[in-house]
């Protein structure tokens, strides 16, 4: 194969990268604006982050509550979906017989359901059938878990496929029970996929707007994206940009935490993990 080189495509790709990232960088920059405007630069200050006693991000009570709501929701979602989804993936891969087909159809369906349909369906079921579950945080948690469960199954199942059954069979031959083989052999091998799934679930949950909005019960259960949606076209201050920036920071912290723990897990097993491998792991799960 001849070496590949294309000036035109390279230029086009860089242009795209600038187009996709520059507006966001400008929005981040404007969270440090000294004036009230979100579009005219009036000098650098931390006024909208910490300076202003009432209207800055870290001092405004309602903005802080919104941030806490988003974080709690995302963490609970990760903590519940990872074990639930991993067990489901292992079970579905091996379970043959009555009910297995419908169960795996049930896992695939949410992947091709837009959030709007899921949000609307959950709103209708909580208001008409599951009266015991109030709108607000409980309903939002259930919504986020449902939204993310299938993604965990897909990620873990892909890894199960590449692992194959030989390690487990070896463990069984050496006297491990079925459960021990899973706990001592399979789950450690699955860890990178579980970490990648956790990163994706955290980011999806913290950035989610539709499901949180449909299942919210007013100001008390407002999440950061819901707040941004409500305020973006109004005359709000750069504190809104600061809030949106904080959301990006959380996503990246999740990604970083995932990257570091994957690196640590692999190193313990005597392997090196490159940035490329990590990117591949995270993006393949996304696609």
């Amino acid at each position: 194969m001849t070496a590949y080189r294309s000036r035109a495509l390279s230029g086009f790709t860089w242009l795209y990268v600038v187009w996709s990232l520059l507006p966001v960088l400008i929005a981040v920059l404007f969270s440090f604006n000294a004036g009230r405007s979100r579009s005219v630069w009036q000098g650098f200050s931390l006024r909208w982050w910490t300076g202003d006693p009432n209207a800055s991000l870290f001092r405004d009570e309602s903005l802080r509550m919104t941030t806490v709501n988003s974080l709690v929701l995302a963490i609970v979602t990760v903590v519940v979906t990872l074990p639930l989804g991993t067990l489901l993936a292992i079970g579905l891969q091996r379970w043959r017989g009555h009910g297995a087909g419908s169960s795996s159809a049930l896992v695939s369906a949410p992947l091709v359901t837009p959030e709007l349909v899921l949000g609307a369906a959950l709103l209708l079921v909580f208001t008409n059938l599951y009266g015991a579950i109030p709108l607000g945080r409980p309903a939002q948690m259930i919504g986020h878990i449902t939204l993310n469960l299938s993604a965990v199954v897909v990620t873990v199942r892909a890894r199960l496929f590449t692992i194959g059954s030989s390690y487990e069979e070896a463990a069984r031959d050496l006297g491990a029970s079925r459960r021990e083989a899973i706990r001592l052999v399979l789950v450690p091998l699955l860890r990178p996929a579980i970490v990648a799934a956790g990163v994706i679930v955290f980011a999806t949950s913290i950035d989610d707007f539709i499901v949180s909005s449909f299942l919210s019960s007013g100001a008390a259960s407002e999440t950061v994206p819901v707040r941004i949606y409500g305020a973006v076209r109004g005359a709000s201050s750069p504190a809104l940009n600061a809030l949106a920036t904080l959301l990006v920071v959380f996503s990246f912290l999740g990604l970083l935490l995932g990257g570091v723990s994957m690196w640590w897990l692999r190193r313990r097993d005597g392997e090196r993990v490159t940035l490329r491998q990590f990117l591949d792991e995270v993006t393949q799960a996304d696609a």
Binding site: Y4, L9, S10, F12, T13, Y16, V17, S20, L21, P23, V24, I26, A27, R38, S39, V40, L84, L88, I90, G91, W95, R96, G97, G99, A100, L106, V107, V112, P114, L116, V117, L118, A120, A121, L122, L123, L124, V125, T127, N128, L129, G143, I145, T146, S150, I206, F209, I210, V232, R233, L240, A244, L247, V248, S251, F252, R276, L279, T283, A287
Partner: protein, 297 residues
């Protein structure tokens, strides 16, 4: 334990593993979906005007469904449906025109440059969609940087109040990363020796692309378009943020209006069913196309 007993025992263990997750999805995905139908085909309380779901399919009443269908075929909702399809189709074409060359370039790159560009292309995934829309509102506001820039080039356009161009470009900006990645994954796995063979046998670079590369990447194109079309068809907030005008209203805005504003849940439920039907047709076409491609290979 003999062999068949052991097998039943194993099967029971695996079923046990799958059970909690399956039960969750049954309770919080399947049942909610059914309740959309129960409300769409139910009735309205004459005094309180709220929905009375009909849980038994035998007592379903298709009155509201018929009304809404009438509105869609030849009434006020027709424009909304036509506009939704038009916006989504134009946005899909633009996504493909932008996304394909980038995925192709990325798949052919090697080494450090590849890692760097892959990283930059993955970055938007970790930036909230709302943040990305907020960024454009800041730019396109009356005194925003983008607005001033276009005015400098002599284009005076009110970008943020009911401009279809803004909504379509907003959809493209929002969803194009989701198309690039699956396309890249397909192109990355493509056997480039086949393209070299075509070149050796006398094809021009252009012919080799149109007759070898493009057909081989068809599954990736279909997967990418599918992945992007589904959320676009159910999108309402891009529109709400960038336009807020009835002139650019899409089907998602109607559903949001009927359900979230709480005005007419039954009409909202009917629209959700109709949207789901369109999406199911799309998904069915995609799965069939995929299967046929696999057989062809």
């Amino acid at each position: 334990m003999n062999g068949s007993q052991r097998r039943t025992h194993a099967s029971r263990t695996w079923r046990g593993y799958a059970l909690p997750g399956t039960a969750w999805l049954a309770a919080f995905f399947a049942v909610p979906f059914y309740s959309v139908a129960a409300i769409a085909f139910g009735s309205i309380d004459p005094i309180f005007r709220n929905a009375r779901p009909a849980w038994n399919p035998l007592s379903w009443n298709f009155g509201t469904f018929g009304d809404v269908l009438g509105d869609v075929i030849n009434g006020p909702l027709r424009d909304v449906f036509v506009r939704t399809v038009l916006f989504v189709v134009v946005a899909l074409v633009l996504c493909l025109v932008i996304g394909y060359p980038i995925a192709y370039h990325l798949a052919r790159l090697r080494g450090r440059t590849k890692t760097l560009i892959l990283l930059l292309i993955v970055l938007p995934f970790w930036v909230s969609y709302l943040m990305r829309m907020l960024a454009w509102v800041n730019l396109l506001q009356r005194d925003g940087l983008g607005m001033r820039l276009t005015a400098w080039f002599g284009v005076e356009h009110n970008w943020l109040d009911g401009s279809p161009t803004t909504v379509i470009l907003g959809l493209v900006y929002g969803y194009v990363p989701f198309l690039i990645l699956p396309l890249y994954a397909t192109l990355e796995r493509l056997d480039w020796r086949l393209v070299d063979a075509a070149r050796d046998l006398g094809a021009s670079p252009r012919q080799a692309f149109w007759r070898v590369t493009l057909p081989l990447s068809r599954t990736g194109v279909a997967a990418g378009l599918m992945l992007v079309a589904l959320p676009m068809l159910g999108d309402y907030y891009t529109n709400d943020i960038l336009s807020r005008s009835p002139r650019t209203e899409m089907i998602g805005n109607q559903i949001d209006f009927f359900l979230n504003a709480g005005t007419q849940p039954q009409r909202g439920a009917v629209l959700v069913l109709m949207l789901s039907f369109v999406l199911a047709c799309l998904a069915w076409w995609y799965v069939r196309d995929n299967a046929r491609q696999r057989v062809a290979r």
